[in-house]
Protein backbone atom coordinates (compact mmCIF):
# COMPACT_ATOMS: atom_id res chain seq x y z
CA UNK A 1 0.00 0.00 0.00
CA UNK A 2 2.89 2.34 0.87
CA UNK A 3 4.52 1.84 -2.54
CA UNK A 4 1.20 2.35 -4.32
CA UNK A 5 0.50 5.58 -2.41
CA UNK A 6 4.05 6.79 -3.04
CA UNK A 7 3.63 6.22 -6.79
CA UNK A 8 0.37 8.14 -6.88
CA UNK A 9 1.89 10.95 -4.89
CA UNK A 10 5.03 11.11 -7.00
CA UNK A 11 3.10 11.40 -10.24
CA UNK A 12 0.74 13.97 -8.76
CA UNK A 13 3.44 16.12 -7.19
CA UNK A 14 4.31 18.12 -10.29
CA UNK A 15 0.70 18.82 -11.27
CA UNK A 16 -0.17 19.66 -7.69
CA UNK A 17 2.73 22.10 -7.42
CA UNK A 18 1.44 23.87 -10.53
CA UNK A 19 -2.11 24.01 -9.14
CA UNK A 20 -0.90 25.42 -5.81
CA UNK A 21 1.36 27.97 -7.51
CA UNK A 22 -1.49 29.05 -9.81
CA UNK A 23 -3.88 29.40 -6.85
CA UNK A 24 -1.41 31.49 -4.85
CA UNK A 25 -0.60 33.66 -7.85
CA UNK A 26 -4.27 34.29 -8.50
CA UNK A 27 -4.84 35.10 -4.84
CA UNK A 28 -1.93 37.55 -4.99
CA UNK A 29 -3.42 39.27 -8.07
CA UNK A 30 -6.78 39.60 -6.33
CA UNK A 31 -5.06 41.21 -3.33
CA UNK A 32 -3.38 43.69 -5.68
CA UNK A 33 -6.76 44.45 -7.24
CA UNK A 34 -8.28 45.05 -3.80
CA UNK A 35 -5.48 47.46 -2.87
CA UNK A 36 -5.93 49.40 -6.10
CA UNK A 37 -9.68 50.01 -5.87
CA UNK A 38 -11.50 52.74 -4.00
CA UNK A 39 -13.81 50.72 -1.74
CA UNK A 40 -15.89 53.77 -0.84
CA UNK A 41 -16.68 54.51 -4.47
CA UNK A 42 -17.37 50.85 -5.23
CA UNK A 43 -20.24 50.57 -2.70
CA UNK A 44 -22.98 52.16 -4.84
CA UNK A 45 -21.71 50.26 -7.90
CA UNK A 46 -22.11 46.97 -6.04
CA UNK A 47 -25.70 47.85 -5.27
CA UNK A 48 -26.32 48.28 -8.99
CA UNK A 49 -25.01 44.82 -9.88
CA UNK A 50 -27.64 42.64 -11.52
CA UNK A 51 -28.88 39.66 -9.56
CA UNK A 52 -27.20 37.27 -12.01
CA UNK A 53 -23.78 38.66 -10.98
CA UNK A 54 -24.69 38.92 -7.29
CA UNK A 55 -25.61 35.22 -7.38
CA UNK A 56 -22.03 34.40 -8.33
CA UNK A 57 -20.58 36.55 -5.55
CA UNK A 58 -22.69 34.95 -2.81
CA UNK A 59 -25.31 35.96 -0.30
CA UNK A 60 -23.31 38.74 1.35
CA UNK A 61 -22.53 41.17 -1.48
CA UNK A 62 -21.72 43.96 0.98
CA UNK A 63 -18.95 41.86 2.51
CA UNK A 64 -17.07 42.10 -0.77
CA UNK A 65 -16.20 45.70 0.14
CA UNK A 66 -14.28 44.59 3.23
CA UNK A 67 -10.79 43.10 3.12
CA UNK A 68 -11.99 39.88 4.80
CA UNK A 69 -14.92 39.59 2.40
CA UNK A 70 -12.70 40.22 -0.61
CA UNK A 71 -10.14 37.66 0.55
CA UNK A 72 -12.93 35.18 1.29
CA UNK A 73 -14.38 35.65 -2.20
CA UNK A 74 -11.06 34.47 -3.68
CA UNK A 75 -11.87 30.96 -2.36
CA UNK A 76 -15.04 30.73 -4.47
CA UNK A 77 -13.91 32.77 -7.45
CA UNK A 78 -14.80 30.80 -10.62
CA UNK A 79 -11.11 30.59 -11.54
CA UNK A 80 -10.34 28.92 -8.20
CA UNK A 81 -13.29 26.59 -8.52
CA UNK A 82 -12.04 25.50 -11.92
CA UNK A 83 -8.63 24.84 -10.34
CA UNK A 84 -10.02 22.66 -7.52
CA UNK A 85 -12.30 20.74 -9.82
CA UNK A 86 -9.68 20.26 -12.52
CA UNK A 87 -7.40 18.66 -9.96
CA UNK A 88 -9.90 16.29 -8.35
CA UNK A 89 -11.74 15.26 -11.51
CA UNK A 90 -8.61 14.80 -13.64
CA UNK A 91 -6.82 12.87 -10.94
CA UNK A 92 -9.75 10.67 -9.90
CA UNK A 93 -10.74 9.77 -13.45
CA UNK A 94 -7.17 9.12 -14.56
CA UNK A 95 -6.31 7.01 -11.53
CA UNK A 96 -8.71 4.07 -11.85
CA UNK A 97 -10.69 4.34 -15.09
CA UNK A 98 -7.67 5.82 -16.90
CA UNK A 99 -5.38 2.98 -15.83
CA UNK A 100 -8.02 0.42 -16.76
CA UNK A 101 -8.33 2.08 -20.17
CA UNK A 102 -4.55 2.02 -20.63
CA UNK A 103 -4.45 -1.51 -19.15
CA UNK A 104 -1.49 -0.56 -16.95
CA UNK A 105 -3.52 -1.42 -13.84
CA UNK A 106 -3.06 -5.11 -14.73
CA UNK A 107 0.47 -4.98 -13.33
CA UNK A 108 -0.91 -3.82 -9.97
CA UNK A 109 -3.97 -6.10 -9.83
CA UNK A 110 -1.86 -9.25 -10.16
CA UNK A 111 0.14 -8.34 -7.07
CA UNK A 112 -0.68 -8.89 -3.40
CA UNK A 113 -2.62 -5.68 -3.06
CA UNK A 114 -6.35 -5.62 -2.43
CA UNK A 115 -8.65 -3.55 -4.58
CA UNK A 116 -9.59 -1.65 -1.42
CA UNK A 117 -5.95 -0.65 -1.06
CA UNK A 118 -5.85 0.58 -4.67
CA UNK A 119 -8.95 2.74 -4.19
CA UNK A 120 -7.63 3.79 -0.77
CA UNK A 121 -4.36 4.99 -2.33
CA UNK A 122 -6.27 7.15 -4.81
CA UNK A 123 -8.57 8.54 -2.10
CA UNK A 124 -5.63 9.33 0.16
CA UNK A 125 -3.83 11.18 -2.63
CA UNK A 126 -6.97 13.18 -3.41
CA UNK A 127 -7.36 13.99 0.27
CA UNK A 128 -3.78 15.12 0.60
CA UNK A 129 -3.76 17.08 -2.66
CA UNK A 130 -6.91 19.06 -1.87
CA UNK A 131 -5.72 19.60 1.69
CA UNK A 132 -2.51 21.08 0.31
CA UNK A 133 -4.38 23.25 -2.20
CA UNK A 134 -6.84 24.65 0.32
CA UNK A 135 -4.17 24.87 3.03
CA UNK A 136 -1.97 26.93 0.70
CA UNK A 137 -4.85 29.35 0.13
CA UNK A 138 -5.38 29.71 3.87
CA UNK A 139 -1.66 30.34 4.42
CA UNK A 140 -1.70 32.73 1.43
CA UNK A 141 -4.54 34.69 3.01
CA UNK A 142 -2.50 35.13 6.19
CA UNK A 143 0.67 36.04 4.29
CA UNK A 144 -0.87 38.56 1.87
CA UNK A 145 -2.92 40.18 4.64
CA UNK A 146 0.21 40.62 6.76
CA UNK A 147 2.55 41.68 3.94
CA UNK A 148 0.14 44.27 2.53
CA UNK A 149 -1.37 45.31 5.85
CA UNK A 150 -4.94 44.61 4.81
CA UNK A 151 -7.31 43.39 7.41
CA UNK A 152 -8.13 42.68 10.11
CA UNK A 153 -8.37 39.03 9.07
CA UNK A 154 -9.77 36.41 11.44
CA UNK A 155 -7.73 33.31 10.58
CA UNK A 156 -10.08 31.04 12.54
CA UNK A 157 -12.94 32.15 10.32
CA UNK A 158 -10.73 31.54 7.28
CA UNK A 159 -9.93 28.08 8.61
CA UNK A 160 -13.68 27.47 8.50
CA UNK A 161 -13.75 28.83 4.96
CA UNK A 162 -10.98 26.43 3.93
CA UNK A 163 -12.48 23.51 5.90
CA UNK A 164 -15.95 23.90 4.43
CA UNK A 165 -14.41 24.33 1.00
CA UNK A 166 -12.48 21.10 1.50
CA UNK A 167 -15.66 19.26 2.41
CA UNK A 168 -17.36 20.54 -0.76
CA UNK A 169 -14.37 19.68 -2.96
CA UNK A 170 -14.17 16.23 -1.33
CA UNK A 171 -17.84 15.63 -2.12
CA UNK A 172 -17.02 16.18 -5.79
CA UNK A 173 -13.88 14.09 -5.43
CA UNK A 174 -15.95 11.28 -3.88
CA UNK A 175 -18.41 11.27 -6.75
CA UNK A 176 -15.56 11.47 -9.30
CA UNK A 177 -13.84 8.54 -7.58
CA UNK A 178 -17.08 6.58 -7.72
CA UNK A 179 -17.40 7.34 -11.44
CA UNK A 180 -13.80 6.27 -11.98
CA UNK A 181 -14.27 3.03 -10.02
CA UNK A 182 -17.37 2.13 -11.99
CA UNK A 183 -16.18 2.84 -15.54
CA UNK A 184 -13.32 1.76 -17.78
CA UNK A 185 -12.64 4.98 -19.65
CA UNK A 186 -11.09 8.13 -18.20
CA UNK A 187 -13.21 10.34 -20.47
CA UNK A 188 -16.47 8.84 -19.29
CA UNK A 189 -15.42 9.04 -15.62
CA UNK A 190 -14.34 12.66 -16.05
CA UNK A 191 -17.61 13.45 -17.83
CA UNK A 192 -19.63 12.11 -14.90
CA UNK A 193 -17.47 14.06 -12.43
CA UNK A 194 -17.87 17.26 -14.45
CA UNK A 195 -21.63 16.73 -14.71
CA UNK A 196 -21.90 16.42 -10.93
CA UNK A 197 -19.68 19.47 -10.38
CA UNK A 198 -21.73 21.56 -12.81
CA UNK A 199 -24.94 20.49 -11.07
CA UNK A 200 -23.36 21.31 -7.70
CA UNK A 201 -22.30 24.77 -8.86
CA UNK A 202 -25.23 25.88 -11.00
CA UNK A 203 -27.78 24.44 -8.58
CA UNK A 204 -26.43 26.86 -6.00
CA UNK A 205 -26.25 29.67 -8.57
CA UNK A 206 -29.90 29.23 -9.51
CA UNK A 207 -30.87 29.05 -5.82
CA UNK A 208 -29.11 32.39 -5.24
CA UNK A 209 -30.61 33.90 -8.40
CA UNK A 210 -34.28 33.44 -7.72
CA UNK A 211 -36.54 32.43 -4.82
CA UNK A 212 -38.27 30.08 -7.27
CA UNK A 213 -35.14 27.97 -7.32
CA UNK A 214 -34.33 28.24 -3.59
CA UNK A 215 -35.38 24.61 -3.09
CA UNK A 216 -32.25 23.53 -5.03
CA UNK A 217 -29.92 24.88 -2.32
CA UNK A 218 -29.79 21.75 -0.08
CA UNK A 219 -29.05 19.54 -3.09
CA UNK A 220 -26.27 21.70 -4.54
CA UNK A 221 -22.92 21.07 -2.86
CA UNK A 222 -21.71 24.65 -3.39
CA UNK A 223 -24.74 25.80 -1.43
CA UNK A 224 -22.91 24.62 1.70
CA UNK A 225 -19.97 26.93 1.06
CA UNK A 226 -20.45 30.67 1.48
CA UNK A 227 -17.08 32.11 2.54
CA UNK A 228 -18.37 35.66 2.95
CA UNK A 229 -21.13 34.56 5.26
CA UNK A 230 -18.57 32.56 7.26
CA UNK A 231 -16.20 35.51 7.71
CA UNK A 232 -19.10 37.83 8.53
CA UNK A 233 -20.26 35.47 11.31
CA UNK A 234 -16.69 34.71 12.41
CA UNK A 235 -17.15 30.97 11.86
CA UNK A 236 -19.06 28.29 10.03
CA UNK A 237 -21.90 25.94 10.79
CA UNK A 238 -21.39 22.23 11.35
CA UNK A 239 -24.08 21.09 8.86
CA UNK A 240 -22.12 22.85 6.12
CA UNK A 241 -19.33 20.39 6.87
CA UNK A 242 -21.41 17.29 7.59
CA UNK A 243 -23.51 17.22 4.45
CA UNK A 244 -20.70 17.47 1.86
CA UNK A 245 -18.57 15.12 3.96
CA UNK A 246 -21.41 12.60 4.03
CA UNK A 247 -21.59 12.80 0.22
CA UNK A 248 -17.80 12.37 -0.01
CA UNK A 249 -17.79 9.35 2.31
CA UNK A 250 -20.77 7.79 0.54
CA UNK A 251 -18.95 8.23 -2.78
CA UNK A 252 -15.84 6.56 -1.35
CA UNK A 253 -17.76 3.65 0.17
CA UNK A 254 -19.67 3.04 -3.05
CA UNK A 255 -16.43 3.28 -5.02
CA UNK A 256 -14.88 0.61 -2.77
CA UNK A 257 -17.89 -1.69 -3.12
CA UNK A 258 -18.17 -1.31 -6.89
CA UNK A 259 -14.44 -1.57 -7.59
CA UNK A 260 -14.28 -4.75 -5.50
CA UNK A 261 -17.16 -6.42 -7.27
CA UNK A 262 -16.65 -5.37 -10.85
CA UNK A 263 -14.88 -7.18 -13.66
CA UNK A 264 -11.68 -5.53 -14.74
CA UNK A 265 -11.06 -6.96 -18.16
CA UNK A 266 -7.44 -5.97 -18.68
Amino acid sequence: MGAEFARRLRFTARALTIYVAAALLFQYLIVLVFRSIDVGALGPVMELLPQSVRAVIGAQVAELLSARGFLAFVFVHPVMIVLYLAFVIAFASGALAGEIEERSIALVLVRPLTRNQIVGGVALTLLLGTLLLMGALWVGTAVWATVYGIGPVDLTAFAWVAGTGLAVVWSIAGVSLLASAATSEAGRAAGLGVAFAIAAYFGNYLANLSPDWRWLKPYAMFGYWDPQEIVRRGGGQWPDLYVPLAVAISGLILALIIFNRRDIAV
Binding site: G2, A3, E4, R7, F11, E102, R103, S104, A106, L107, V108, L109, V110, R111, P112, L113, D263, I264, A265, V266
Partner: protein, 302 residues
Protein backbone atom coordinates in the same frame (compact mmCIF):
# COMPACT_ATOMS: atom_id res chain seq x y z
CA UNK B 1 -1.43 -27.20 -1.03
CA UNK B 2 -0.08 -30.77 -1.18
CA UNK B 3 2.54 -31.74 -3.75
CA UNK B 4 0.03 -33.99 -5.55
CA UNK B 5 -2.48 -31.17 -5.88
CA UNK B 6 -2.52 -29.39 -9.26
CA UNK B 7 -1.02 -25.90 -9.30
CA UNK B 8 -3.80 -24.70 -11.60
CA UNK B 9 -7.21 -26.29 -11.69
CA UNK B 10 -10.28 -25.04 -13.51
CA UNK B 11 -13.63 -26.72 -13.60
CA UNK B 12 -16.34 -25.85 -16.14
CA UNK B 13 -15.32 -22.18 -16.28
CA UNK B 14 -17.74 -20.02 -18.21
CA UNK B 15 -17.66 -16.28 -18.74
CA UNK B 16 -19.80 -13.98 -20.88
CA UNK B 17 -19.40 -10.23 -21.21
CA UNK B 18 -23.03 -9.29 -21.54
CA UNK B 19 -24.11 -11.14 -24.67
CA UNK B 20 -20.56 -11.59 -25.91
CA UNK B 21 -19.08 -15.00 -25.31
CA UNK B 22 -15.78 -15.13 -23.42
CA UNK B 23 -15.34 -18.83 -22.59
CA UNK B 24 -17.61 -21.82 -22.14
CA UNK B 25 -17.01 -24.87 -20.01
CA UNK B 26 -13.21 -24.69 -19.76
CA UNK B 27 -11.79 -27.51 -17.62
CA UNK B 28 -8.14 -28.41 -17.22
CA UNK B 29 -5.47 -28.85 -14.58
CA UNK B 30 -1.75 -28.20 -14.52
CA UNK B 31 0.53 -30.18 -12.21
CA UNK B 32 3.57 -28.70 -10.52
CA UNK B 33 6.69 -28.31 -12.64
CA UNK B 34 4.92 -28.41 -15.99
CA UNK B 35 5.00 -25.92 -18.85
CA UNK B 36 1.43 -25.87 -19.99
CA UNK B 37 0.60 -24.33 -23.34
CA UNK B 38 -2.71 -22.64 -23.91
CA UNK B 39 -3.12 -22.34 -27.61
CA UNK B 40 -5.76 -20.60 -29.64
CA UNK B 41 -6.29 -17.92 -32.25
CA UNK B 42 -6.89 -14.32 -31.22
CA UNK B 43 -10.34 -13.93 -29.67
CA UNK B 44 -10.63 -17.62 -28.80
CA UNK B 45 -10.86 -17.00 -25.05
CA UNK B 46 -7.25 -17.35 -23.89
CA UNK B 47 -7.10 -13.97 -22.17
CA UNK B 48 -10.55 -14.43 -20.62
CA UNK B 49 -9.38 -17.72 -19.10
CA UNK B 50 -6.33 -15.95 -17.67
CA UNK B 51 -8.51 -13.14 -16.31
CA UNK B 52 -10.66 -15.74 -14.55
CA UNK B 53 -7.59 -17.49 -13.15
CA UNK B 54 -6.22 -14.23 -11.78
CA UNK B 55 -9.55 -13.10 -10.36
CA UNK B 56 -9.71 -10.02 -12.60
CA UNK B 57 -13.14 -11.08 -13.82
CA UNK B 58 -15.70 -13.29 -12.13
CA UNK B 59 -16.83 -16.30 -14.11
CA UNK B 60 -20.58 -16.87 -14.22
CA UNK B 61 -19.97 -20.57 -14.09
CA UNK B 62 -17.37 -22.97 -12.74
CA UNK B 63 -14.44 -22.60 -10.40
CA UNK B 64 -10.71 -22.09 -10.61
CA UNK B 65 -7.99 -22.75 -8.08
CA UNK B 66 -4.39 -21.60 -8.15
CA UNK B 67 -1.74 -22.98 -5.81
CA UNK B 68 -4.47 -24.81 -3.93
CA UNK B 69 -6.70 -21.80 -3.28
CA UNK B 70 -9.60 -20.12 -5.05
CA UNK B 71 -8.44 -17.43 -7.46
CA UNK B 72 -9.46 -14.51 -5.22
CA UNK B 73 -7.69 -15.90 -2.14
CA UNK B 74 -4.25 -16.79 -3.48
CA UNK B 75 -1.05 -15.21 -2.24
CA UNK B 76 -0.20 -13.20 -5.33
CA UNK B 77 3.42 -12.81 -4.25
CA UNK B 78 3.82 -16.42 -5.44
CA UNK B 79 2.70 -15.47 -8.93
CA UNK B 80 4.57 -13.94 -11.83
CA UNK B 81 2.39 -12.54 -14.59
CA UNK B 82 3.10 -11.10 -18.02
CA UNK B 83 -0.26 -9.65 -19.06
CA UNK B 84 -1.36 -9.74 -22.67
CA UNK B 85 -1.03 -6.48 -24.64
CA UNK B 86 1.39 -5.34 -21.97
CA UNK B 87 0.96 -1.74 -20.90
CA UNK B 88 3.10 0.01 -18.33
CA UNK B 89 3.25 3.25 -16.41
CA UNK B 90 4.93 5.20 -19.17
CA UNK B 91 6.16 8.09 -17.05
CA UNK B 92 8.20 5.80 -14.81
CA UNK B 93 11.71 4.75 -15.69
CA UNK B 94 12.35 1.05 -16.11
CA UNK B 95 14.13 0.90 -12.77
CA UNK B 96 11.36 2.80 -10.97
CA UNK B 97 8.82 0.36 -12.36
CA UNK B 98 10.81 -2.70 -11.27
CA UNK B 99 11.36 -1.25 -7.78
CA UNK B 100 7.72 -0.25 -7.46
CA UNK B 101 6.40 -3.66 -8.53
CA UNK B 102 8.91 -5.45 -6.30
CA UNK B 103 7.74 -3.33 -3.37
CA UNK B 104 4.10 -4.18 -4.15
CA UNK B 105 4.98 -7.87 -4.31
CA UNK B 106 6.77 -7.71 -0.98
CA UNK B 107 9.54 -10.11 -2.04
CA UNK B 108 13.15 -9.32 -2.70
CA UNK B 109 13.89 -9.19 -6.47
CA UNK B 110 16.57 -11.87 -6.19
CA UNK B 111 16.49 -12.79 -9.88
CA UNK B 112 16.52 -9.27 -11.27
CA UNK B 113 20.23 -8.84 -11.96
CA UNK B 114 20.46 -12.15 -13.81
CA UNK B 115 17.35 -11.44 -15.86
CA UNK B 116 18.51 -7.96 -16.82
CA UNK B 117 21.81 -9.37 -18.00
CA UNK B 118 20.12 -12.15 -19.99
CA UNK B 119 17.73 -9.77 -21.70
CA UNK B 120 20.40 -7.14 -22.33
CA UNK B 121 18.73 -4.37 -20.34
CA UNK B 122 21.54 -2.14 -19.13
CA UNK B 123 21.49 0.55 -16.47
CA UNK B 124 21.20 3.26 -19.14
CA UNK B 125 18.06 1.56 -20.50
CA UNK B 126 16.58 1.33 -17.03
CA UNK B 127 17.22 5.01 -16.40
CA UNK B 128 15.01 6.03 -19.34
CA UNK B 129 11.29 6.69 -19.02
CA UNK B 130 9.32 3.73 -20.34
CA UNK B 131 7.60 5.93 -22.94
CA UNK B 132 10.93 6.00 -24.78
CA UNK B 133 11.18 2.19 -24.89
CA UNK B 134 10.69 0.18 -28.06
CA UNK B 135 8.05 -2.54 -28.03
CA UNK B 136 10.71 -5.21 -27.60
CA UNK B 137 12.28 -3.41 -24.63
CA UNK B 138 8.88 -3.10 -22.96
CA UNK B 139 8.29 -6.80 -23.44
CA UNK B 140 11.69 -7.61 -21.94
CA UNK B 141 10.92 -5.39 -18.96
CA UNK B 142 7.56 -7.16 -18.70
CA UNK B 143 9.31 -10.51 -18.44
CA UNK B 144 11.79 -9.19 -15.85
CA UNK B 145 9.03 -7.74 -13.64
CA UNK B 146 7.18 -11.06 -13.72
CA UNK B 147 10.20 -13.17 -12.80
CA UNK B 148 12.34 -10.91 -10.63
CA UNK B 149 10.89 -12.17 -7.34
CA UNK B 150 11.29 -15.89 -8.21
CA UNK B 151 7.59 -16.78 -8.30
CA UNK B 152 6.46 -20.41 -8.10
CA UNK B 153 3.80 -20.05 -10.78
CA UNK B 154 4.15 -18.05 -13.98
CA UNK B 155 1.18 -16.98 -16.04
CA UNK B 156 2.36 -15.62 -19.36
CA UNK B 157 0.02 -14.20 -21.97
CA UNK B 158 1.80 -14.05 -25.34
CA UNK B 159 5.12 -13.31 -23.59
CA UNK B 160 7.42 -13.50 -26.61
CA UNK B 161 5.32 -11.08 -28.66
CA UNK B 162 7.55 -8.24 -29.84
CA UNK B 163 10.85 -9.89 -28.86
CA UNK B 164 13.49 -10.20 -31.54
CA UNK B 165 14.51 -13.78 -32.52
CA UNK B 166 17.62 -13.73 -30.30
CA UNK B 167 15.64 -12.65 -27.27
CA UNK B 168 12.92 -15.17 -28.06
CA UNK B 169 15.60 -17.84 -28.06
CA UNK B 170 16.85 -16.60 -24.69
CA UNK B 171 13.32 -16.60 -23.34
CA UNK B 172 12.61 -20.19 -24.38
CA UNK B 173 15.92 -21.21 -22.83
CA UNK B 174 14.84 -19.51 -19.63
CA UNK B 175 11.53 -21.37 -19.64
CA UNK B 176 13.41 -24.66 -19.85
CA UNK B 177 15.55 -23.67 -16.87
CA UNK B 178 12.47 -22.70 -14.89
CA UNK B 179 10.95 -26.11 -15.56
CA UNK B 180 14.19 -27.74 -14.39
CA UNK B 181 13.89 -25.76 -11.17
CA UNK B 182 10.36 -27.07 -10.63
CA UNK B 183 8.47 -23.91 -11.46
CA UNK B 184 5.12 -24.17 -13.17
CA UNK B 185 4.41 -22.13 -16.28
CA UNK B 186 1.08 -21.40 -17.97
CA UNK B 187 1.93 -20.09 -21.41
CA UNK B 188 -0.78 -18.63 -23.59
CA UNK B 189 0.04 -18.29 -27.26
CA UNK B 190 -1.44 -18.21 -30.73
CA UNK B 191 1.77 -19.62 -32.23
CA UNK B 192 1.81 -23.37 -32.60
CA UNK B 193 5.57 -23.58 -33.03
CA UNK B 194 6.14 -21.61 -29.82
CA UNK B 195 4.00 -24.03 -27.83
CA UNK B 196 5.49 -27.04 -29.59
CA UNK B 197 9.03 -26.14 -28.69
CA UNK B 198 8.49 -25.16 -25.06
CA UNK B 199 5.51 -26.96 -23.56
CA UNK B 200 4.90 -30.37 -22.05
CA UNK B 201 1.16 -30.36 -22.60
CA UNK B 202 -1.18 -28.14 -24.49
CA UNK B 203 -4.83 -27.17 -24.35
CA UNK B 204 -6.32 -25.82 -27.54
CA UNK B 205 -9.15 -23.36 -27.24
CA UNK B 206 -11.36 -22.21 -30.06
CA UNK B 207 -14.45 -20.00 -29.92
CA UNK B 208 -14.43 -20.18 -26.12
CA UNK B 209 -14.28 -23.95 -25.77
CA UNK B 210 -11.43 -26.40 -25.33
CA UNK B 211 -11.11 -28.56 -28.42
CA UNK B 212 -8.10 -30.56 -27.28
CA UNK B 213 -5.98 -31.26 -24.24
CA UNK B 214 -2.97 -33.28 -25.24
CA UNK B 215 0.64 -34.04 -24.53
CA UNK B 216 2.74 -32.08 -26.97
CA UNK B 217 4.03 -35.31 -28.60
CA UNK B 218 0.47 -36.32 -29.41
CA UNK B 219 -0.28 -32.90 -30.83
CA UNK B 220 2.83 -33.05 -32.94
CA UNK B 221 1.91 -36.51 -34.19
CA UNK B 222 -1.48 -35.26 -35.25
CA UNK B 223 -0.26 -32.15 -36.93
CA UNK B 224 0.45 -31.91 -40.61
CA UNK B 225 3.46 -30.25 -42.28
CA UNK B 226 3.07 -28.46 -45.56
CA UNK B 227 6.02 -29.12 -47.87
CA UNK B 228 6.69 -27.40 -51.13
CA UNK B 229 8.86 -29.51 -53.41
CA UNK B 230 10.50 -28.18 -56.56
CA UNK B 231 11.56 -31.10 -58.75
CA UNK B 232 14.15 -30.65 -61.48
CA UNK B 233 11.47 -31.18 -64.14
CA UNK B 234 7.77 -31.97 -64.50
CA UNK B 235 8.56 -35.59 -65.39
CA UNK B 236 9.88 -36.18 -61.89
CA UNK B 237 6.51 -35.11 -60.52
CA UNK B 238 4.83 -37.92 -62.41
CA UNK B 239 7.37 -40.44 -61.13
CA UNK B 240 7.02 -39.33 -57.48
CA UNK B 241 4.74 -41.68 -55.49
CA UNK B 242 3.58 -40.04 -52.26
CA UNK B 243 3.53 -42.39 -49.26
CA UNK B 244 0.18 -43.35 -47.76
CA UNK B 245 -1.43 -40.47 -45.84
CA UNK B 246 0.48 -37.78 -47.73
CA UNK B 247 -1.83 -35.55 -49.73
CA UNK B 248 -0.80 -33.68 -52.87
CA UNK B 249 -2.42 -30.33 -52.26
CA UNK B 250 -1.28 -28.61 -55.42
CA UNK B 251 0.80 -29.51 -58.45
CA UNK B 252 1.95 -27.02 -61.03
CA UNK B 253 4.72 -27.84 -63.48
CA UNK B 254 7.72 -29.07 -61.52
CA UNK B 255 6.33 -27.72 -58.23
CA UNK B 256 4.23 -29.77 -55.84
CA UNK B 257 2.76 -28.86 -52.46
CA UNK B 258 2.32 -31.78 -50.09
CA UNK B 259 0.51 -32.14 -46.76
CA UNK B 260 2.59 -34.56 -44.73
CA UNK B 261 1.40 -36.00 -41.40
CA UNK B 262 4.31 -35.95 -38.92
CA UNK B 263 4.51 -39.79 -38.68
CA UNK B 264 4.97 -39.86 -42.46
CA UNK B 265 7.89 -37.44 -42.57
CA UNK B 266 10.53 -40.20 -42.80
CA UNK B 267 8.68 -42.05 -45.57
CA UNK B 268 8.17 -38.82 -47.47
CA UNK B 269 11.84 -37.92 -47.25
CA UNK B 270 12.75 -41.40 -48.49
CA UNK B 271 10.37 -41.06 -51.43
CA UNK B 272 11.77 -37.64 -52.28
CA UNK B 273 15.35 -38.92 -51.99
CA UNK B 274 14.60 -41.36 -54.80
CA UNK B 275 13.76 -38.46 -57.11
CA UNK B 276 15.73 -35.48 -58.38
CA UNK B 277 14.71 -32.56 -56.21
CA UNK B 278 15.83 -29.01 -56.93
CA UNK B 279 14.51 -27.35 -53.75
CA UNK B 280 12.45 -28.16 -50.68
CA UNK B 281 10.60 -25.79 -48.33
CA UNK B 282 9.06 -27.03 -45.08
CA UNK B 283 6.48 -24.58 -43.77
CA UNK B 284 5.58 -24.13 -40.13
CA UNK B 285 2.06 -25.52 -39.72
CA UNK B 286 -0.55 -22.93 -38.91
CA UNK B 287 -2.96 -23.22 -36.05
CA UNK B 288 -5.75 -23.59 -38.60
CA UNK B 289 -4.00 -26.69 -39.98
CA UNK B 290 -4.03 -28.19 -36.48
CA UNK B 291 -7.68 -27.31 -35.99
CA UNK B 292 -8.53 -28.88 -39.33
CA UNK B 293 -6.77 -32.01 -38.12
CA UNK B 294 -8.98 -32.06 -35.05
CA UNK B 295 -12.23 -31.18 -36.74
CA UNK B 296 -11.75 -33.94 -39.32
CA UNK B 297 -11.83 -36.43 -36.44
CA UNK B 298 -15.19 -37.63 -35.14
CA UNK B 299 -15.88 -36.23 -31.63
CA UNK B 300 -15.31 -39.58 -29.88
CA UNK B 301 -12.01 -39.94 -31.69
CA UNK B 302 -10.46 -36.97 -29.90
Amino acid sequence: MTSAEPVIETSHLGKWYGRRRGIEDVTFSVPSGEIFGFLGPNGAGKTTTIRCLLGLVRPQRGTSRLLGKPAHRIDRARLGVVPGELSMFERMTGLQLLDYLAALTGRRPTERADLLARFALGSSDLAKPIRHYSRGMKQKLGIVQALQHAPELLILDEPAEGLDPLMQQEFYLLLGELRARGRTVFLSSHLLWEVERTCDRVAIIREGSLVALERIDTLRARSVRRVEVHFVDAGEVGRFAPPSGVVVEQAQGARVTLRVPVPQIGATLAALAARRVHDLVWERPSLEDVFLGYYREPPNGR
